[in-house]
């Protein structure tokens, strides 16, 4: 068990800047991977975790080169090998599973054929042996009906199934080391939990060592024996998973864990100030100095080295780590937020809203109506109060973004009405809305890279709404822009920056500022934090909450992340296949009784705690279309009671605690089932 299969020694990797300076993005990294062990490498984007992982299979990205150090795989240096030698090792001894397996599979070849290719390349088995092995592998990764699976094309599989096929292919050569780079990022919560469970099983079953790279401590916590925490190209903390997650003794890891929203906690997670320094701008001293609340003068001048602490079996890079020992109870705290008073008036009402993407037939087009018996989104009734944050939760494809788009007028509704202030009906066509209604409803998007025009400066970006709605110009415009920047905690000097000159969190702040520029009544937030690092996510969530408390804005907050939703929202609406399942005050939705779908979602949440394992109660199959009749969740429901679920739309039942559940099971019975 203690045999070391890969040893990284003093590895530094860097690139030459345009000015000819040598800039390192990995600095003096040393670590060991033991046989049969799963090591999680965690860090924010840009911390160098992928570069390290790729170097561990002898791969250096173009433009980068090793500055010093070595990667010894069974005492041979991978970085000195010829490409011919590496080919012999990759796939056979070290295999890799990429982030987006769907894209890594060849679209026009059958699954079975692709696995066969991998077997032919990496083993010496003959045809019949290979055929046997294929079904063995498909069985091992627990794909349903492996016999028929081999004859399917990648696009006929769901994201989670594609990821399983990628695992099967990686296992084809019986590797000693399996490298996984963000293997579950981008998958749905339930799928993610299933894939992680599979990986844990495979590690135990085959004794393969794994390196698991992720920004998500929740995922890392589920699979790792040991955790390596990277910051600005260095290892800052390394040790047994449990120790790292429960008693982090590095201020960065401590802050990181605090900034993760947790299901068990209402209120907002604490955020860390600042952001990770960019490669090349790292000065002498500790690279975490700017953001550290334990920093002393010593930290500014001297760089701490990685120190081994015997009692904890942990390596830590910090002068003042002792202050954090036995501090861990503080991890379970959060910032309480002001709740909305429920007396307020309703500003937005969705009444029987249905939305369809079906193409209009010719006659329907003439009559300007949509006939679709089974629309993507159906019968949505939500009343939103002024100043509240209502969250829409559900897996990918549940229609969350669709609903937001139709509120914004970007998508026509099929049936139903959207009413704004005093029951005035908003036209479902953008062009028919009056300018004041357009101003009153603003959108913030998931990915600030896409939502900010790359050719505009921050000033130009923010002046768009100010000019459009308020006709501002000259000095007044500039003053307003600076005020907005201040509101989102950005300095005046950002005014002339382009989006590419901003970090992810700063970009999202600009997007937030742009939405607030319109002085809106309602802001629609579509997964606004899911492209951000956790520490940045916490900061953006806190910012949104602060702005709301100051300005009384109403948020419709779409997210797939239940813990984030718990932190920010006052009320939660759970959607499955475009149909509402449950709606209620957020603290109640997280308590039972819940709709069976909510139960599944809650069970799949990954907490950064090795003792809280996800509960996998339903299959992670994906349904293409909502069922024509009956309960929308009938296809996956673990508590399905019979034919009634298939034939009749379940009634709304209101529990004692005020949350409404749409299920055929009696609500009291549901409560006792879920005990």
């Amino acid at each position: 068990m203690n045999e070391i299969i890969e040893r990284v020694k003093n590895l530094s990797i860097g690139f030459n800047s345009q000015k000819g300076k040598q800039i390192s993005i990995l600095r003096n990294v040393s670590t060991n991977i033991k046989k049969g062990e799963t090591v999680g490498i965690v860090g924010e984007s840009g911390s160098g975790k992928s570069t390290l992982a790729l170097a561990m299979m002898g791969y250096i990205k173009q433009g980068l080169f090793p500055l010093k150090g070595e990667c010894l795989f069974k005492s041979e240096d991978l970085l000195k090998m010829s490409s011919r030698q590496l080919e012999k090792i990759r796939g056979r001894k070290i295999a890799m599973i990429p982030q987006n397996a769907g894209q890594a599979l060849t679209p026009n070849l059958k699954i079975g054929y692709q696995i066969d290719e991998a077997l032919r390349l990496h083993t010496d088995l003959n045809k019949t042996e290979r055929d046997k092995k294929i079904s063995e592998l498909l069985n091992k990764v627990r794909l349903p009906s492996p016999e028929t699976m081999a004859f399917r094309y990648p696009h006929e599989l769901s994201g989670g199934q594609q990821q399983r096929v990628a695992v099967a292919m990686a296992l084809a050569g019986k590797p000693d080391l399996l490298l996984l780079d963000e293997p579950t990022t981008g998958l749905d919560v339930t799928t993610q939990a299933h894939v992680l469970e599979l990986l844990r099983f495979i590690a135990k079953d085959t004794g393969t060592s794994m390196i698991y790279v992720s920004h998500d401590l929740g995922a890392i916590a589920q699979v790792s024996d040991r955790i390596v925490v990277m910051y600005a190209g260095e290892i800052v903390l390394e040790g047994p998973a449990r120790k790292i997650l429960k008693e982090p003794i590095h201020p960065y890891t401590y802050g990181l864990l605090k900034s993760i929203p947790k299901l068990s906690l209402a209120g907002l997670p604490a955020s860390m100030p600042g952001s990770q320094p960019q490669p090349g701008s790292i000065n002498e001293g500790c690279s975490f100095y700017d953001r550290c609340n334990l920093a002393t003068d010593n930290c500014k001048k001297n760089s701490p080295s990685l120190e081994y602490i015997k009692e904890l079996d942990t390596n830590v890079r910090c002068f003042n780590y002792k202050e954090l020992i036995n501090q861990n109870n503080n991890l379970q705290t959060s910032i309480t937020k002001k709740s909305n008073n429920s007396e307020a008036n309703e500003v937005l009402k969705l009444k029987d809203v249905s939305i369809s993407y079906a193409k209009q037939k010719f006659f329907d087009q003439l009559l300007n109506k949509i006939t679709d018996q089974n629309p993507t989104v159906k019968d949505i009734n939500i009343d939103i109060k002024k100043g509240e944050t209502i969250a829409l939760v559900g897996e990918s494809g549940s229609g969350k973004s669709t609903i937001l788009k139709s509120i914004a007028g970007l998508l026509k509704t099929k049936d139903g009405q959207i009413k704004f202030e005093n029951d005035r009906i908003l036209s479902s066509d953008l062009k028919m809305r009056n300018p004041n209604d357009l101003r009153a409803i603003q959108l913030i998007f998931q990915n600030p890279d896409e939502s900010l025009n790359p050719n505009h400066t921050v000033e130009q970006i923010l002046s768009q709404p100010l000019k459009l709605y308020f006709n501002l110009s000259g000095e007044e415009l500039k003053k307003n822009i600076i005020d907005l920047l201040k509101k989102v905690r950005l300095g005046e000097f950002y005014i002339s920056r382009y989006p590419r000159q901003l970090s992810g969190g700063e970009k999202q702040r600009v997007a937030v500022a742009r939405a607030f520029a319109a002085k809106p009544d309602i802001i629609l937030c579509d997964e606004v934090t899911s492209a951000l690092d956790v520490s940045v996510q916490a900061a953006v969530l806190n910012l949104l909450q602060q702005l709301k408390e100051d300005l009384g804005t109403t948020y419709v907050f779409v997210s797939h992340d239940l813990a984030v939703v718990r932190a920010i929202s006052d009320r939660v609406a759970v959607l499955y296949q475009g149909r509402l399942c449950e709606i209620g005050p957020s603290q109640n939705v997280y308590k039972f009784p819940s709709h069976p779908y909510t139960e599944v979602l809650l069970g799949a949440v990954l907490e950064p705690d090795p003792d809280i394992k996800p509960k996998l109660v339903a299959e992670d199959i994906v349904e293409e279309k909502p069922p024509e009749k009956g309960c929308s969740f009938q296809g996956r429901c673990p508590r399905k009671i019979g034919d009634i679920c298939n034939s009749e739309v379940p009634p709304w039942q209101i529990g004692e605690n005020g949350n409404a559940i749409r299920c055929h099971i009696n609500i009291e019975e549901l409560a006792s089932l879920q005990q």
């Binding site: 840009g46 960019q278 490669p279 959108l443 998007f445 002339s496 920056r497 000159q501 901003l502």
Partner: protein
């Protein structure tokens, strides 16, 4: 890796930006060579009427087919005209016609492409089909028809060339627009209620401009070749206008004993084409557009 270059802090004005791009272009040998060649040709074209030593159309039986000498640097042609004079003035013709031709191609190609990309759907389909159909006719034949109907004056040639070379630009502009309109910042502008014109002007054009300009620069060099081929075939500008295609065409029979009358225009034409090509490539690189990934049109 993230490119978070916080270094260039102050906002550069347009002139500074253009200068920056030129500097980047010139930082590679190929770009520098290209720029130098183009600059040389442009300067020569601008000053040629003032430095031309002879009258380009003065025919003189006494000076027929003279070899290069101190008086006639590049020799004379079969009608006794000075080849040097005609070569530098020929560059002026070629550059003027193709420059304005490219401008027209850029304008109609770019605007139509952006329009198609923006509206999409049926209109886009129909327009693109028509554009394709028009341009599946061999352009030389079409040009033939046009010049035989309308004559060979530059007033005819410039728009005709501009029209034919705009096709590729329509495609590039349309593809670039397609990429951009899917982005959330356009959705965001639409949701705010900006007018279509404002969206095209503020959000789309700044993001497709570079791709279109690069394509235009590339088309320019092709148009140069096309224009000279037309003259060579006798459908371009008409004699006695000094023109490289015409000069090559007239002198090609005399190549074996009066090579000088054909060398100069050939060198002029090929160097300008190479120069524009190198410049366009450097331009694309400086703007960060990778031409190699674009499908050939």
């Amino acid at each position: 890796m993230q490119s978070n270059l916080v270094t260039d802090d102050k906002q550069k004005n347009k002139l500074e930006k253009a200068f920056e791009i030129l500097k980047t272009m010139a930082s590679k040998p190929s770009g520098l060579i290209g720029l130098t060649i183009v600059l040389f040709h442009v300067v020569l074209a601008l000053i040629s009427p003032y430095i031309a030593p002879y009258d380009y159309k003065a025919i003189s039986p006494n000076t027929m087919l003279l070899a290069p000498s101190a008086e006639h640097w590049f020799g004379t042609d079969s009608l006794g005209r000075d080849v040097f004079t005609r070569t530098i003035l020929g560059g002026r013709t070629a550059l003027t016609v193709t420059f304005f031709g490219s401008l027209i191609a850029l304008l109609w190609g770019g605007l139509l492409g952006i329009f198609c990309g923006l509206v999409g759907g049926k209109i886009d389909d129909v327009v693109m089909r028509v554009v394709d159909a028009f341009l599946s006719i061999p352009w030389i034949l079409a040009m033939l028809l046009i010049v035989s109907l309308l004559g060979t004056s530059t007033e005819v040639l410039i728009p005709a060339l501009g029209f034919f070379y705009g096709k590729g630009i329509v495609r590039v502009a349309r593809a670039a627009t397609h990429d951009v309109i899917a982005k959330d910042f356009i959705v965001s502008a639409r949701a705010r209620g900006h007018s279509n014109m404002s969206i095209i002007w503020n959000e789309i054009i700044p993001n497709v401009r570079d791709a279109i300009l690069v394509e235009g620069a590339m088309r320019w060099s092709w148009m140069l070749l096309g224009f000279s081929s037309l003259s060579f075939l006798g459908f371009g500008v008409s004699p006695p206008t000094p023109d490289w295609g015409l000069m090559i065409s007239n002198a090609r029979g005399l190549m074996s004993f009066a090579y000088w009358s054909v060398i100069a225009p050939i060198v002029g034409l090929s160097s300008l084409i190479i120069g524009i090509n190198l410049t366009a490539d450097a331009f694309a690189k400086a703007l960060g557009i990778d031409r190699s990934t674009k499908a050939p049109v």
